[in-house]
Amino acid sequence: MTFIILNRLFQAVLVLLFVALISFLIFRFVGNPVENLMGQEATLAQRAALEEALGLNDPIHIQYFDFLWKAVRFDFGNSYRGALPVAELIASRLPATLELALTSALFAVIFGVFMGIYTAINRGSVITNFILSSSLIGVSLPTFLIGILLIWLFSVELNWLPSFGRGEVVDLGWWKTGFLSESGLKSLVLPAITLGLYQMTLIMRLTRSEMLEVLRQDYIRLARALGLTNKAVYFFHALPNILIPVITIGGLQLGSVIAFAIITETVFQWPGVGLLFINAVYFVDIPVMSAYLLLVGFAFVLINLIVDLSYFFIDPRLRDSELKDEA
């Protein structure tokens, strides 16, 4: 068992090193640091001096280790555009993205589970069919279009909700939150729905099929036969059994939510790391791009690891066999 955990940790580190390698290669070769750091009028001697100072003449693996060592200390240099340290820039933008991702994940899990159970229990009803088909429409349209349509309907035509930004944020010193003001909460609604819609559909469909599966099991039939009410059967016997896979999928989705936030943040001018990244791409701001990649990679590997390990602790059957990969 300890071996499996260690093995998992080792693999996670390898994955991270590989992500860091891609990030390093982009930083080193796409960016051309000397061109970026020097004007066109720089002389050859000045260029050579800068190359030496930046360590660009060292063997490539030394440069990679140097990059890693700096990355471990959150040193990604300065953004070409904002002239601010990249780490500081990302730290200031991260709360916005995390709050958005968390809200949309909560939205997706709560509504997804609820509607999944509902549609499983009431198979074939009008409302079930409506939920199932409209959720399919939701995933058949690109996210940006859904966002713009929501803005058009709820901001411009109805004037109910804000169309951009985070509203009033409260500075807690180390974290700027939009959760503590009315305008901040209102501003979250449309972006969170836009971002969470796809995940919600996914979770709903998963919950539904798991629920249908569980309801066929013998112990549920037994519970029914023993005269338990429907409610008791659904919530005390069926629900706990479907929660584990649903929560794992929800957790795994959090990583991709952070990455997919790029689109939502662009549409809603949400000041998070996704918007930072897309602007970095437009401005060819290589340090920000490579730091962002590393960040997303790290977040994903971490979530993956936690999910894997929690599986292991939750489900005793797995302790004996290998870890499940089909998550």
Binding site: Q11, L14, V15, F18, V19, I26, V30, L136, I137, V139, S140, L141, P142, T143, F144, L145, I148, W152, V156, S209, L212, E213, G255, S256, A259, F260, I262, I263, T266, I278, V281, Y282, L293, V296, G297, F300, V301, N304, D325, E326
Partner: protein, 301 residues
């Protein structure tokens, strides 16, 4: 053929109106795209044939300068929207199809190998799958696009953007294929027919491709269908982020990006018709994929 029409599969199909409608829609849209040059009244990809003064003509109304009429109106450059949608569909379908093929071939092969051989090869492949999952299609596309743009001359940009779209969408969707095929392979390889095949001295390749592969294909078909819809939507999303095909030869996604600029200004048709086409296509594929999964996975019935 005779056998197909008498099969259970066809029986279920005939009795599922949703499946029939969605299948017919998909076929109609694909045919319309293939025969676009016969159906479309104009060729929107030929810039010499365009008249800018036709711009923003509403559907069926006569243009105030040229007097010309268009079934679905025109866009901001005076292109006939009906023709542009048909030609755009070609690009979107081509990108979607090739991306799915790429993802499927990669995923199935890697999944087979990982599941059948196991050991460190399995670990390496599945770790690569993890890495791949780290970079969603948008990120992969922007990276490949950025690099390709730096290396290739702008003359080949049109071809390049299509190839970049295919590779980036294909690369980011191979993982579900690999995981599913690996899982099924793990189950299949313990079965008696595989042991028997081993005993009569068949090579690993032969066992993998001739014996195991056919038995794991039905879930692959389901994933392929759903991935196809995903790929078409991903193409639209990437166009919105500026990574798609150029606006002179727009795909469905590029058309939607152009159209969304005119949502508030009253030229609703430029957004509505391409969006409805995309919706009809993706929705039909999703519905058909759902039905397919239910049929091929009787457990859920």
């Amino acid at each position: 053929m005779e056998r197909f029409f008498r099969s259970d599969f066809f029986y279920h199909f005939r009795h599922a109106p949703v499946a029939i409608v969605s299948f017919v829609t998909i076929i109609l849209i694909i045919l319309a795209a293939i025969f676009a040059n016969f159906i479309a009244p104009t060729n929107p990809f030929d810039p010499a044939s365009l008249n800018l003064m036709n711009g923003f003509t509403p559907p069926l109304e006569a243009n105030e300068f040229t007097g010309e009429r268009f079934l679905l109106g025109t866009d901001d450059q005076g292109r006939d929207l009906f023709s542009t949608i048909l030609y755009g569909l070609r690009i979107s379908l081509f990108v979607g199809l090739m991306a799915v093929l790429l993802a499927m071939v990669m995923g199935v092969l890697l999944g087979l190998i990982a599941g059948f051989l196991g050991g460190w090869i399995d670990s390496v492949i599945m770790r690569f799958a993890d890495i791949q999952m780290t970079f969603p299609s948008i990120l992969v596309a922007m990276l490949i696009y950025g690099v390709a743009r730096g290396i290739l001359p702008p003359e080949v940009r049109y071809e390049m953007s299509i190839v970049v779209l295919i590779i980036s969408i294909g690369l980011s969707e191979w993982v579900p294929f690999a995981r599913t095929v690996r899982g099924s392979t793990l189950v299949e390889k313990e079965k008696e027919y595989v042991t028997a095949a081993k005993m009569i001295g068949l090579t690993r390749q032969q066992i993998m491709l001739r014996h195991i592969l056919p038995n794991v294909l039905s879930p692959v078909l389901v994933i392929a269908t759903i991935t196809f819809a995903l790929a078409i939507i991903a193409e639209a999303t990437l166009s919105f982020l500026g990574v798609g095909v150029p606006s002179t030869k727009p795909s469905l996604g590029t058309l939607i990006r152009i159209g969304q600029d005119f949502l508030f200004s009253g030229e609703w048709w430029i957004l509505l018709f391409p969006a409805v086409t995309l919706l009809a296509l993706a929705l039909s594929i999703n519905l058909f994929g759902d039905w397919l999964r239910d049929i091929l996975n009787p457990k859920l019935k």
